[in-house]
Amino acid sequence: MTILREDVETTYWTPVCSYTDLLPERGACALVDDHQIALFRTFDGELFAVGNRDPFSGAQVLSRGIVGTRAGEPSVASPMHKQVFSLVTGRCMDDPAMAVPTYPIRILDGTVEVGVR
């Protein structure tokens, strides 16, 4: 199936928090304009940003899921009904027809920034 994904342009970086605000292996949510962005810092210090909205329940909760790996790929399990999403592609690993948007994320001088259109 063709999945509609939010198009992202990387022009606008928004600073959201300091790197140390993020716990390893856990998520947090940032509000950027109207967008809720789930931010994750994995055990090896890598950062990921995906949409916070769980597409199965509609609730803004993905940042509160359990972080882990599936077949080596960093992932988060929705705290609502446990569907697992890839942090890299946003694709739902339990139902390939579902996905969440992904956003560019970087650290600049210890500050985490996300790219939201």
Partner: protein, 823 residues
């Protein structure tokens, strides 16, 4: 591009998106079809598992039931095809969209038959076929007290059970002489009727419908039978058979059967070589197949043919087995034969009949009501020599060593033989039923063959895998031992030394629970915080809109008026919905994460503690008033319940733990439905263990009688610790006890047969001595409190997506709209 019948096929159009259509598309994609596939579905949602439709009313979501969709297919939903233009090879939809095809597949299924009785269009009349139907039935049932299902067949009974589940007094009206006339004979029907009536449903057989009576508001008020009797009802569900949806084929001039159905050959082709028909709309050799198994086979055959193959469809097995209203009913093979053998036990409501050839050697078919064991063991022998005397087979369920021939079909939904299952096990080194499902599809549809698959696995000598998940090859009990013996206190060390990868939502909470059971400080300390499920992470239960609920502990259900007032004030001040729970305490719903610490500050100051409603831990110890007030009570049930709740509060375990104490044998606290339940006797206390409410209720077994309070507590200490050490992930005491065996657990705990009781005692003492209130600790820890925000970059801002409306003077979540993201 694909050559089929000399024509190049680059555009396949499928009409209908039900299970058959889904299977067809999947097969085309799997087999490498590289052209364009366009599917039109009239329903507003993608194909879902219709066989499991009823589970939607039991709480499964539409998303749960929806099949995964393959890549590269265009699916048009809410889009009904109204015309086939055979000359121009184009279909046209109701909203005027035209789509050209090289090959057209009709997978339009069937629709429920609604007999032409007066009043059938009144508001409150429904059919039972789609998720939308169920939504409408659920909505109407909210305003109704009584329902009638017209039709006592398989689907009618399923619908009746659903109405019963929605709280309606339910009647079933069946024209025939008994229920499920297509699957069971008169004797079986009588036994089935007893079961159904025992559940409180009213059965009317040999009863037609003269008229649906509407009230002055135009809504259904009842059903008038030909005998003049009226059944009052506000909801009527028609389930009087199905009719193939062949209207498009008729319009296009294709051949249809006398009683409906699009005529196809054994390649699923209609008279027009460019048009196929599959599934419940197709008519093959005079039969319309109303079961998914044959429909799936048709889809596979059509896909193969479209790609130039030569697959053929042959007459299919129409066996059925189901568990309806808790009663097993099954029919396989023929429903008559030269000889038959019947086993009947009216006491337990079992009726089983086998039909055999005149020399009593070949099995022709069978009927089961109340116990479908013969279906599981004997169905693969249909048309073959029986492995024993028929009477004996019925009585014993067949010898355990009975070996199925390799070509015996084990999964009729997906047409999989025993040989294929064995080959998959051997070829892929499978160790569990999930693996068989993945490799062969067997067991993925109705599930009735799962026991058989398990048997084959066991017979294949496979040791069934205990792996927790892809990260640990150990069971929970093994990890518990490893952590405890090696003194491991972090997840990182455990996975580095005994696992692979970085963990997941299965193993992390398990390890979190093990570490907590072994006493490793606050569950949100250090790395432990990263292992917790959202409920444990926020020490509250997540709700459907992303808010949380708050449950303060109310030990034994006893509470002072002052404390009640505090709860009331907190709920009022924070605008929370309040409800008395089934656990004798009060739940406050609708708190946003940033409100949780503020709410708990007030509660803790008033002397409340966490109720652990969020944890796999002790929940409640319910009590009855006991001897203090009740004229029958023989012991102080409330006092004991409070003591037990305070002793075991905060104890983390493989699953939640519940308890209750009743002051006498009248059992008002329902102790025998609990993991450990206590009933007072004149001499002391009786301890019952392994009870369960929930999904599979089980009455607790008597573990020890007439214990003193000290003996009772020591026995429970040991029981709980032994369970915590040895149970599987998310295994309640009920299942654990059945696996271990009551006698064995008694030996270990009452006779110390393993010599571990001193250890178990010490472990429980440690728990009791180190208990601290989880919420109290959080409020003293600014670092942890910082996590309780909706937004890391806007800590004071509430989540704008959360909204409430009012119902019965309290808040309730505004349901979150789910837009379709598929195109």
């Amino acid at each position: 591009m694909t050559a089929s019948e000399g024509v190049t096929v680059s555009r396949v159009v499928v009409v209908g998106h039900g299970p058959t259509s889904h299977r067809l598309v999947e097969a085309l994609v799997d087999k490498g079809f590289d052209g364009r596939i366009t599917v039109f579905g009239e329903e507003p949602r993608a194909a879902y598992d219709r066989v499991a439709l009823t589970s939607y009313l039991a709480g499964r979501s539409a998303a749960d039931l929806t099949y995964p969709l393959p890549e590269g297919v265009v699916l048009r939903l809410s889009s009904r095809v109204v015309e086939i233009d055979r000359k121009n090879r184009t279909v046209v939809t109701a909203d005027g969209h035209a789509e050209p095809y090289d090959v057209l597949v009709l997978a339009t299924g069937s629709s429920p038959f609604v007999p032409p009785v007066p009043g059938r269009d009144a508001e409150g009349c429904f059919v039972y076929r789609t998720i939308d139907d169920l939504d409408a039935i659920r909505e109407a049932s909210g305003r109704a007290t009584t329902g009638v299902v017209i039709g006592g067949g398989l689907l009618g009974l399923e619908a009746a059970d659903a109405l019963r589940g929605l709280g309606l007094a339910t009647h079933i009206v069946e024209m025939g002489g008994w229920l499920m006339p297509r699957q069971v004979d008169e004797g079986g029907g009588a036994v089935l009727r007893n079961h159904v009536e025992a559940l409180g449903l009213s059965v009317h057989t040999e009863a037609g419908v003269k008229e649906i009576v509407a009230g002055p508001d135009g809504r259904v008020a009842g059903l008038l039978k030909p005998d003049g009797q009226t059944i009052e009802a506000q909801v009527v569900v028609f389930s009087a058979g199905i009719r193939p949806r062949d209207e498009l084929a008729r319009q296009a001039g294709l051949e249809v059967g006398g009683r409906g159905g699009i005529a196809v050959d054994d390649g699923m082709r209609t008279g027009d070589p460019a048009i196929y028909a599959v599934g419940e709309c197709a008519l093959y050799e005079g039969t319309v197949y109303g079961l998914v198994g044959p429909c799936f086979t048709m889809a596979e055959v059509a896909a193969d043919r479209i790609l130039g193959g030569e697959a053929v469809f042959t007459r299919a097995d129409m066996s059925t087995k189901l568990k309806l209203l808790g009663v097993e009913v099954a029919q396989f093979g023929a429903m008559d034969g030269a000889l038959n053998v019947t086993f009947m036990d009216p006491v337990s409501g079992v009726y089983q009949k086998l039909f055999v050839s005149d020399d009593a050697r070949t099995l022709l078919g069978g009927i089961c009501v109340g116990d479908a064991t013969p279906y599981n063991t004997l169905k693969p022998f249909v048309g073959r020599d029986l492995p024993g005397a028929p009477g004996e087979l019925l009585f014993t369920g067949g010898p355990a060593s009975m070996d199925l021939p390799d070509d015996a079909q084990v999964c009729s939904c997906n047409n999989v033989t025993k040989g294929q299952v064995c080959a998959a096990i051997a070829g892929n080194g499978l160790t569990d039923v999930a693996g068989i499902k993945d490799c062969t599809r067997a067991g993925t549809t109705c599930g009735s063959c799962l026991p058989m698959l398990k048997q084959i696995l066991v017979k294949a000598g496979v040791e069934v895998s205990k792996s927790l998940c892809e990260h640990f090859a150990h069971s929970r009990a093994e990890l518990f031992d490893i952590a405890s013996v090696r003194g491991i206190t972090t997840f990182s060390q455990l996975i580095a030394e005994h696992g692979t990868g970085r963990g997941c939502d299965v193993c992390k909470p398990v390890v979190a629970s093990i570490l907590a059971s072994l006493g490793n400080g606050h569950i949100l300390d250090g790395e432990q915080a990263t292992l917790q499920d959202t409920n444990d992470h926020f020490l509250a239960n997540i709700q459907r809109n992303g808010t949380y609920s708050v449950v303060p502990r109310i030990p034994g259900g006893e509470i002072t008026p002052d404390k009640l007032i505090v709860i009331g004030e907190v709920a009022r001040d924070f605008g929370l919905y309040t409800k008395i729970t089934g656990g004798q305490r009060i739940d406050l719903f609708g708190a946003r994460v940033e409100q949780l610490p503020l709410i708990w500050r007030r509660l803790v100051d008033a002397g409340f503690e966490s109720g652990h409603a969020y944890g796999k831990a002790l929940r409640t110890v319910k009590s009855c008033v006991g001897s203090t007030w009740c004229r029958y009570g023989v012991q102080d049930a409330v006092g004991l319940a409070i003591d037990l709740e305070l002793r075991y509060r905060g104890l983390r375990s493989p699953h939640k733990l519940k308890s209750a104490v009743s002051g006498c044998a009248r059992e008002c606290a329902e102790a025998r439905s609990k993991d450990f339940g206590i009933i007072a006797t004149e001499q002391g206390w009786n301890l019952y263990v392994g009870g369960n409410g929930g999904f599979t209720p089980r009455h607790a077994d008597l573990f020890a009688a007439d214990l003193s309070t000290a003996e009772l507590i020591r026995t429970i200490d040991r029981f709980l610790m032994f369970y915590i050490r040895t149970a599987d992930r998310l295994q309640r005491t009920s299942v654990w006890l059945e696996n271990q065996g009551l006698a064995y657990v008694k030996e270990v705990i009452l006779e110390d047969s393993l010599g571990i009781c001193a250890d178990l005692d010490a472990q429980m003492e440690r728990h009791v001595a180190t208990y601290a209130d989880e919420w109290g600790a959080i409020l003293e820890d600014p670092e942890k409190l910082r996590r309780f925000v909706s937004f890391v970059n806007a800590p004071g801002t509430p989540d704008p997506s959360i909204a409430f409306e009012t119902e019965r003077d309290q808040v309730k979540p505004v349901l979150i709209p789910l837009e379709v993201v598929r195109s």
